[in-house]
């Protein structure tokens, strides 16, 4: 059975990937309003593959569903037919359905839920397609009936019958026109039809105006996709196979084990090097051997890390669907843009990023982006924009979620914070950043809106906790009527860090090498103190905050008159600071160990440190968390 199991894993892996690909393609088509032959071929191929593989494994329901859509796409392809939003919608539904049910495959031997309704709808769409071919125009027809005219469902049905005389009605919204529920819906929201007709917009509209009690009607062209006929199909097939990448699925635990072994290897090497250099005379040969060994271990480590790295696009793309569904539901128009989606992040981080990003996006769609009317009144584009950005900077991955909505309500947050007792009324000026960070307090919410997606508008406290678990921080910036930007700054899980060893008051620290900018010997005259006793150092006429590691971590009574070494550190583009210490050691590859739990309560003495490491000689070094240290500095200055 072992063999079968692994086949099943591969099938799951491949199918999940194909479904993701399909979803991306569908959303792409929906927003671009354009597809081409290649697009259709791709989607067709995905359905075709899933159909084939699931049939091999005897998952009949799954196979039937994909077969249904395969037929639809093959017909579209062969008959040069325009793709309708109906087809996109049903395809997305099928994708979601399979994604939700795929977990049940193993236990049930097939999809758990009944597929009949979906199957019937696909069948109907296919029948409609077959009955209708041609190059007419598609229109979206909307009708709203006069208030209190009653039996709106019959009126809608009548309108449909009349439309059918001059067009082909492809879809109706609501789907079922007749009945008390539809009647209520139509009377409140009106009825819409998707029609295909060779009549002009105005001609259709004139016909609608003759229907009694039609209060408002509109006919707008509905853009569908331009498809070319399939040519030289066989040639395409061959190319396809060549282009396809080969994947194998690997149990993540195996990767974790491999990484752990590499980490142990790094430590063993350090111990070995230390012993060898102590017990033997230093020779060029030994040094070369160690150099080679180092390089190979580094390569090995990088390769293992790389296997675990995935483009953040995985998380980003899944937000497309969320934004699409939510904005449709809330009748907002929102464009979701990606920057740096190819940025690669460790698999563990990727998984934990999904929830925080989702929460922030939900808030942006729900509370950030205004309704179309409000936006227009404010002179903004009626289409809201959310930008998801990813970049790596100084050993961190920074994910920014920017929206161009109404921004955070400074006053409301402040009032609520005073109400809830988070801050006291004081004369002290509170900075915007401090106020915005209040929304991350548990249970803090200024909005009472409840909807399917955002719950109670809470969630920022969850975001804060989730990001904290990843060792990261959340930064919020906002401007009224301009929008909100939320940055998640998360250290890349480099459990192995390249760093420079520095020593201060006999304690050794490791500073990550990629954040180090400059090292020099101090000159007393360059150091200045402000009235609060905060130290700064002037480098090239710029003042940088300065931390003396001796007084920061060690005994503050320690009399410190040695000449210091200064290191300029860049935590991020905007955040630079300097540290002062006694001695500098060499470059080391060290394994980051988090502090034991019982030490974690010592938040004050461990501030700005991300963990510790055992050096080759058995001593312990602290690992400096430059982002954390920069934050501590900011806090101090604003106090």
């Amino acid at each position: 059975m072992k063999k079968e199991e692994s086949l099943f894993d591969i099938f799951l892996y491949e199918t999940t990937h194909l479904l993701d690909e399909m979803e991306t393609k569908l959303l792409e088509a929906e927003s671009n309003k354009r597809t081409n032959k290649e697009w259709i071929d791709n989607v067709f191929r995905i359905m075709h593959t899933i159909k084939g593989s699931s049939a091999m494994l005897n998952f009949k329901k799954l196979s039937e569903l994909s077969h249904g859509l395969e037929d639809v796409y093959s017909f579209i392809r062969d008959n040069n037919i325009e793709l309708t939003s109906e087809i996109i919608d049903i395809s997305l539904e099928v994708v979601s359905f399979i994604k939700n049910e795929i977990e049940t495959l193993e236990e049930n031997g097939d999809l758990g839920k009944d597929i009949t309704p979906l199957k019937n709808r696909i069948k109907l769409i296919f029948e409609n397609l077959k009955n209708f071919k041609g190059k007419k125009s598609n229109y979206k027809v909307k009708i709203k009936f006069k208030k209190d005219c009653m039996m709106e469902d019959i009126r809608a049905l009548d309108a449909k019958n009349k439309l059918e005389k001059i067009s082909k009605v492809l879809e109706t919204f609501p789907t079922i026109l007749k009945g008390p529920d539809s009647c209520k819906e139509i009377s409140e929201k009106g009825v819409s039809f998707l029609v295909n007709s060779d009549f002009k917009e105005s001609e259709i509209n004139n016909m609608l105006k003759k229907i009694l009690f039609v209060e408002k009607s509109s006919v707008t062209p509905y853009e569908f996709k331009d498809l070319k006929k399939v040519e030289e199909e066989e040639e395409e097939e061959i190319e396809d196979i060549k282009d396809r990448k080969h994947y194998i699925s690997v149990d993540v635990n195996k990767l974790d084990n491999l990484l752990n072994t590499v980490i142990e290897l790094v430590t063993s090497r350090a111990v070995l090097e230390d012993r060898v250099l102590k017990e033997f005379n230093k020779s060029e040969e030994i040094e070369n051997l160690f150099y080679n060994l180092n390089e190979r271990i580094k390569e090995l480590q990088e390769n293992v890390m790389e296997i675990r790295m995935l483009p953040i696009n995985r998380v980003f793309s899944s937000m497309k669907r969320l934004v699409r569904d939510m904005s449709k539901n809330e009748n907002k128009k929102i464009e979701l843009k990606f920057v740096g989606e190819e940025t690669e992040v460790d698999k563990n981080i990727i998984e934990d990023l999904y929830n925080p990003i989702m929460h922030i996006i939900r808030n942006a769609v729900d509370h950030g982006i205004e309704s179309r009317e409000t936006r227009e009144n404010l002179g903004k584009s009626s289409v809201g924009t959310i930008i998801l950005k990813a970049k790596t900077e100084g050993g961190n991955i920074i994910i920014s979620i920017c929206d161009d909505g109404k921004g955070l309500d400074r006053k409301a947050i402040l009032n609520k914070a005073i109400d809830k007792g988070y801050i006291k009324k004081s004369n002290r000026e509170i900075t915007d950043k401090e106020i915005y960070s209040l929304i991350m307090k548990p249970g803090f919410s200024t909005t009472e809106t409840i909807n399917e997606y955002s719950g109670r508008g809470v969630g920022m406290d969850i975001v804060y906790e989730d990001v904290k678990k990843l060792g990261g921080v959340v930064k919020i910036d906002s401007k009224e009527n301009t929008g909100t930007t939320i940055d998640l700054i998360i250290p890349l899980t480099l459990s192995i860090v390249s760093g420079i060893k520095i020593i201060s008051n006999n304690i050794s620290y490791i500073v990550p090498i990629n954040s180090m900018k400059l090292i020099f010997k101090e000159k007393r005259e360059d150091i200045v103190k402000d009235t609060n006793g905060n130290m700064f150092i002037v480098i090239d006429n710029i003042n940088y905050p300065l931390i003396n590691l001796n007084s920061y971590y060690a005994d503050s009574n320690y009399i410190d008159n040695r000449n210091k070494i200064i290191m300029l550190i860049e935590a991020s583009e905007e955040e630079k600071f300097a540290i002062a210490f006694d001695e500098i050691g060499g470059e080391y590859q060290v394994v980051v160990k988090t502090f034991p739990k019982y030490l974690k309560k010592c938040t004050k003495s461990l501030r700005g440190l991300s963990g510790c490491t055992t050096m080759g000689d058995g001593t312990i070094s602290y690992i400096v968390d430059v982002t954390g240290l920069a934050l501590e500095l900011n806090k101090k200055v604003s106090e």
């Binding site: 006069k146 039996m151 019958n161 009694l212």
Partner: protein, 118 residues
């Protein structure tokens, strides 16, 4: 002045509708208690608008509608229906009724429908 025929087996309904039309400046030229009577009166009066009740003795509104349309396919027949008559209304519309109103209705609603016919 546009002319109207009111077809309804209930005197109360005929009088109510008649008042509504008269206030709006229409001339009610005929009233009929059933579909058969409506058909006869249509021949002589040729009203511009007919309001047609559906459930009536002797000949129902639906049949009467069909017969009238046989004589004049452009006749403006407005069905007067009630909740529960959805099927019949649908059929009437399919046959060529210009529209329908649902009891109880306001003068404003009736007139907005009738005005739209012209």
């Amino acid at each position: 002045m546009k002319t109207v025929m009111i077809v309804d087996d209930a005197l109360f309904m005929r009088k109510t509708i008649k008042k509504m039309f008269e206030r709006a400046g229409y001339e009610v030229v005929a009233e009929a208690e059933n579909g058969k009577e409506a058909l006869d009166k249509y021949m002589t009066k040729k009203p511009d608008v007919i309001t047609m009740d559906i459930a009536m003795p002797v000949m129902d509104g639906l049949l009467s509608l069909k017969e009238i349309l046989k004589i004049d396919e452009t006749a403006n027949v407005l069905m007067v229906s009630a909740i529960g008559q959805e099927e019949l209304v649908g059929e009437a519309l399919a046959c060529g009724a210009k529209g329908f109103i649902v009891k109880p209705f306001t003068e404003e609603l009736l007139m907005s429908a009738v005005d739209q016919l012209f």
